[in-house]
């Protein structure tokens, strides 16, 4: 049946939703991790399929909004743990309450200079009802800025988000050099409400900016173990990259 159904979600679809919600527990950083992975995947796709006149390297800022309770429960983003291409592009907003966080999210969506907006709101505050989520959807679609809203310890209520995920951490890949150590993160993500896709469950992981998915029932292929980056990736400015051009 699943083969017959059109529009089954898979990573790399070009029609990225502009307003997604990710439900996660505050006791781990899986929600923020998946939000970043989805955002990076979406930015990669936009870069590849975007107009050829755009800059090769996306230098736009990323707005990361947290309300105070989310900071207490799950911490702030840590610069040295962020993906290397986002490290110097994060603008962090610490909102006192969910109302201020929603204001900051909407202002961020109205700004044309942001690559995307990531929000973290804890619980089910009264301010975040269907009307306000509709406001966010409309602002995101009007200005074309994507919003990834992480809901920590929240119950899925009525919302106008185009895709709604529920995420738990999954055991990580086994690294090549030290089998006893944790490897690259993986998440067990369930898409339980989407406007144009059927729901489903995947094990997702991030592979140098792109998202890789497999079904939870699929066995892990024997040769997919993570060998890590043996050579540092050259980023834009290296002499070799210039010489090749």
């Amino acid at each position: 049946m699943s083969e017959a159904r059109e529009g089954r979600w898979q990573p790399g679809f070009a029609d990225q939703p502009l307003h997604s919600e990710i439900f996660a527990s505050a006791g781990d950083a899986g929600g923020a991790g998946l939000a970043l992975a989805l955002a990076r995947d979406a930015l990669c796709i936009a870069n590849e399929s975007g107009d050829p006149l755009a800059e090769k390297q996306d230098r736009r800022q990323v707005l990361w909004v947290q309300d105070r309770r989310a900071i207490q429960r799950s911490g702030r983003p840590y610069r040295h743990g962020l993906p290397s291409e986002l490290r110097d592009r994060i603008i962090h907003v610490e909102a006192k309450n969910p109302e201020d966080a929603l204001f900051a999210l909407e202002e961020g969506l109205k700004c044309r200079d942001f690559a995307c907006v990531i929000g973290e709101i804890s619980g089910n505050p009264r301010a975040l009802d269907f009307t306000s989520s509709r406001r966010l959807s409309l602002a995101a679609e009007k200005h074309g800025v994507a919003l990834w809203l992480v809901r920590l310890d929240a119950v899925p209520e009525l919302s106008s988000a185009r895709m709604r995920w529920r995420v738990e951490p999954a055991p990580s890949t086994s690294p090549r050099w030290n089998a006893a150590a944790p490897g690259d993160p993986q998440w067990k993500a369930e898409l339980f409400r989407a406007r144009s896709h059927a729901p489903g469950q995947w094990i997702l992981r991030n592979d140098t900016g792109r998202l890789q998915a497999r079904r939870p029932s699929d066995p892990v292929a024997a040769n997919t173990q993570d060998i890590g980056d043996l050579v540092r990736p050259t980023v834009g400015r290296s002499l070799a990259a210039v010489a090749r051009m």
Partner: protein, 522 residues
């Protein structure tokens, strides 16, 4: 070039009385006095007062015994300084910049400007004529250093010129020691030492011919060794006069802050009317700024109430801006707590800090609506509502302690340069503000953790890597601070954490080490 207004306060008083020198009120002996703790003291006297025996610095009672019919008028030092500032600006007609020399002098830099006036001699004549036309007595002198020009203006011959080729020491050797711009107590010391002329001091300070003179030189160097301020040290002043050490001067620069205001026919008490006035003021301000090619960085809105209250609202902008709608919107958030009382009668908008901003095509409001706001405008809106400390950016900081290795700075400030982190260090995506204590079960005190309890949940450790030992920063912290052994761990559910053991058993800095959870991996 130094210009000395020898009788500035008396001239000002005479001009305010509206009479010529030696006529009318000025014909009577008059003293300008200030009130001191010991009674009125004379600050300045006019010519008639001078000839009748009154001296500046005398008490008024002493002057009355010499001249019983002396008239008094209050001195006005603040007004004198104000006039001096105006004169300093006016003196820039002879040179590109000028500096104040309080209380009654002005220094003008005339480097490469004298030929425009037909040479230095004619320039000095022009200066004296210009001030004579304003009925101020002024003495001017030109020299290659500010100190020498000052000395010549105060104590030299009229219209003295000291060219760069002249030997300054030889020309100035007969001037009294007061020409060095020294404090009164230093002058007293030098007078008691018998040093009365510049030449006396210069001979001692520079050369040594025999043993006695060398001893005198050493003695005077010792005497003023600890005086750092130039006006307390005659040796530094002498070097400044001869151009051996630099003497920085603070130039006077006219500055006009753009200001617009509305005086209202009817006091307003309602917010909607105030918003309208504010929008009008913002439009005027934008026009004003556009004419000057500037954008506002700081704005002050003053509201004058009918009952004598003044309310001021400040606004700082992240970058120079000239958009009326933006300014209006930012101020609208600040006006919520304004108490209009019986009404506001005057509203004034002043840009106390403006930066150059090139003229660009006006952004039509519809285009803003279509294209969204810019980054600067967005940051402004966020900081105005949430406060400046809420919108920040993480930047690296030179420390190897994890929580100090990044710091937060304003969103649009430039990132400081830093050393790259080591690539093989895997740091968590998120850090708790304060590490939370956990209860850990371990096989051996130094070994890997096996199970821990955090926030009431038990986590079984499935995989772990560590320890990564991070020592305290001994150059900054006390010696009893314990080191940390960090472990990256993953529990059976796949949740990944960064935990550390604070200290090791038996390190002599406390009892059994505690465990903390500090970071959450993605």
């Amino acid at each position: 070039m130094a210009i000395w207004f020898a009788r500035l306060s008396v001239d000002r008083w005479r001009l305010s009385q509206g009479c010529e020198a030696g006529e009318g009120v000025d014909a009577l002996p008059t003293a300008l006095i200030t009130e001191t703790a010991h009674g009125p003291r004379i600050e300045a006297v006019n010519d008639a007062g001078h000839s009748s025996g009154a001296q500046p610095g005398m008490m008024l009672a002493d002057a009355r015994t010499l001249c019983p019919d002396i008239q008094t008028a209050p001195a006005d030092p603040a007004g004198d300084l104000d006039t001096l500032e105006k004169l300093a600006l006016w003196s820039q007609r002879w040179g590109p910049w000028s500096a104040l020399d309080p209380p009654d002098g002005v220094l003008v830099d005339i480097t490469a400007a004298a030929h425009l006036f037909g040479g230095e001699t004619r320039m000095l004549a022009d200066v004296e004529a210009a001030f004579a036309k304003r009925r101020l007595s002024a003495r001017a002198a030109i020299a290659s250093t500010a100190g020498a020009a000052w000395a010549l203006a105060h104590f030299g011959p009229r219209q003295a010129i000291l060219g760069p080729g002249d030997n300054a020491l030889r020309c100035l050797t007969d001037l009294p020691i007061a020409a060095l711009r020294l404090d009164q107590d230093v002058l007293t010391v030098l007078r008691r030492l018998g040093l009365k002329r510049l030449g006396d001091l210069a001979a001692i300070a520079t050369g040594a011919i025999n043993r006695d003179e060398a001893a005198a030189r050493d003695a005077i160097h010792r005497r003023f060794r600890n005086r750092r301020s130039p006006s307390a040290n005659p040796l530094v002043r002498l070097d400044q006069l001869l151009g051996r050490v630099p003497e920085p001067l603070l130039p006077v620069i006219p500055h006009h802050a753009p200001m617009v205001q509305r005086r209202l026919m009817e006091p307003i008490r309602h917010r909607s009317l105030l918003d309208q006035v504010l929008a009008d003021l913002a439009d005027d301000m934008v026009r004003e700024l556009e004419g000057r090619g500037e954008g506002a960085r700081r704005l002050e809105l003053g509201l004058w109430r009918v009952d004598g209250e003044v309310m001021v609202r400040h606004l700082e902008l992240a970058s120079a801006t000239r958009e009326a709608a933006h300014i209006t919107r930012l101020f609208a958030d600040r006006l919520d707590d304004v108490d209009a009382g019986f009404g506001i009668e005057t509203v004034r908008l002043r840009a106390s800090w403006a930066e150059p901003l090139g003229v660009s095509q006006a952004d039509v409001e519809q285009a803003v609506e279509r294209h969204g706001t810019s980054l600067n405008a967005c940051i402004d809106r966020l900081t105005v509502r949430l406060g400046p400390d809420a919108v920040r950016r993480p930047v690296p900081y030179a420390s190897h302690l994890p929580e100090r290795a990044h710091s937060w700075q304003p969103a649009l400030a430039a990132e400081p340069s830093s050393q790259a982190m080591l690539e093989f260090h895997q740091r968590p995506l998120k850090m708790l503000d304060k590490p939370e204590g956990i209860a850990v079960l371990y096989a051996s005190p130094d070994g890997l953790p096996q199970r821990f309890r955090w926030r009431g949940n038990v986590h079984e450790v499935a995989r772990a890597e560590g320890p990564e030992r991070i020592a305290p920063e001994w150059w900054r912290e006390r010696s009893t601070v314990r080191l940390r052994d960090y472990y990256r761990i993953e529990d059976v559910m796949g949740r990944r954490y960064w935990i550390y053991r604070h200290g090791i058993a038996g390190d002599g800095r406390g009892g059994a080490p505690d465990w903390y959870l500090q970071g959450l991996y993605a």
